[in-house]
Symmetry: C3
């Protein structure tokens, strides 16, 4: 078992089946050494969007649920990466960038603390290779009223 798979096991995470494309776009594209992952919302490990992870930070959603939503987004990013890499997350050389979109009211400024749920998971699973550049913004709305959406770019071998 690879170090990454061991990390996932230690965290008790079984990567979910990656969400299937529902339109004329795809969950990931590889160009050269870059793997670009479509924005992933906070579907649970059962593939469903829980009511607990829908709505806005600063209104229906409290910080703890937002943090968990961001973590789920990162798990879904890794599930897509695993599919893109033929099952071998060991081909990841670096998580280059995460883009974090937080569904928030116009007054919820504690956005980085929410996005840490994604950043922390990435480092817990990938180790030093998981340290990424990141942008975090609060948006007016997200698909399906998800609390968080995370997109990613990886450098791969």
């Amino acid at each position: 078992m690879s170090e990454i798979e061991a990390n996932l096991a230690a965290l008790g995470i079984t990567l979910p089946a990656p969400a299937a494309p529902v339109a004329n776009y795809v969950p990931y594209v590889i160009t050269g050494n870059l793997l670009v992952i479509s924005g992933q919302i906070c579907f649970g490990l059962d593939g469903k969007l829980s009511d607990a992870h829908k709505g806005k930070l600063g209104a229906e959603i409290f910080n703890e649920a937002g943090l968990e939503a961001a973590r789920l987004c990162a798990i879904n990013v890794l599930a897509q990466a695993k599919a893109a890499l033929g099952g071998d997350l060991g081909r990841i050389k670096r998580c280059v960038r995460l883009g974090g979109f937080i569904n928030s009211t116009p007054h919820f400024a504690a956005l980085p603390a929410i996005m840490n749920g994604a950043s922390d998971l990435m480092v817990q699973v990938l180790g030093e290779r998981g340290r990424h550049a990141r942008s975090t913004v609060g948006v007016a709305e997200l698909p399906a009223d998800a609390a968080v959406e995370v997109e990613a770019m990886f450098e791969i071998a």
Copy 2:
């Protein structure tokens, strides 16, 4: 006539003159095999932003107009790509990523359905090479109150 130009002709699309830069930025940059296109708003084929494509999804703009606005953004992306590639869209190897920003109220969650207007056009014109990773978010406002803005990254030959 290339397959891509034939697709455009079959769709009845004549790519508009790409919008000129109005400040210290440029419509596109090529780095290595990547072509990065600035965010394009939904100017019509006549180069003008129609009132029909201004305002927010969930308020002034209904779904059909939003879909058409997203399609126009994709057409403008292709117009910029054509200019970047010396007129030869055949140099596109892959649409790597589209970023979709939808001008929306805090309660308009059907964002992916709107962004499909851009994704569908990309595949109608570029075929399999048009299938892209994508992120879609609802934002508080867009330049000139445009309904949709789309940015893009292509892999080129």
Copy 3:
């Protein structure tokens, strides 16, 4: 003194100490010839977020302060780039892309004029190499209620 350092000196800008990472992400990642910079908010040259650069365009913040906030973001981007490049901004071959997020009310559509504060600074410092692709959107909220956040991608030697 390099041309870039001379430009900074002529502008009276001493790049601030780049903001330290405060979580499991990093201010920049280099992959191949690409340097990806995390979203930078409008900290002042003293490393502090001034009240003058907090709040929303269209509400608490007027255009002039927004423009200055965007300029500060670009300065902070360059400070991170300098750190990433071992102090030598001359290794920048091109500013490929800036992503501009403006903290704005749902009715503030003059977003590009604000983002010009970042674009203009980039060209004032880097010259022709500073001309970039760009996307500008108005978002519901930003970290610490900053008025502007700018992320960047550079091509480096």
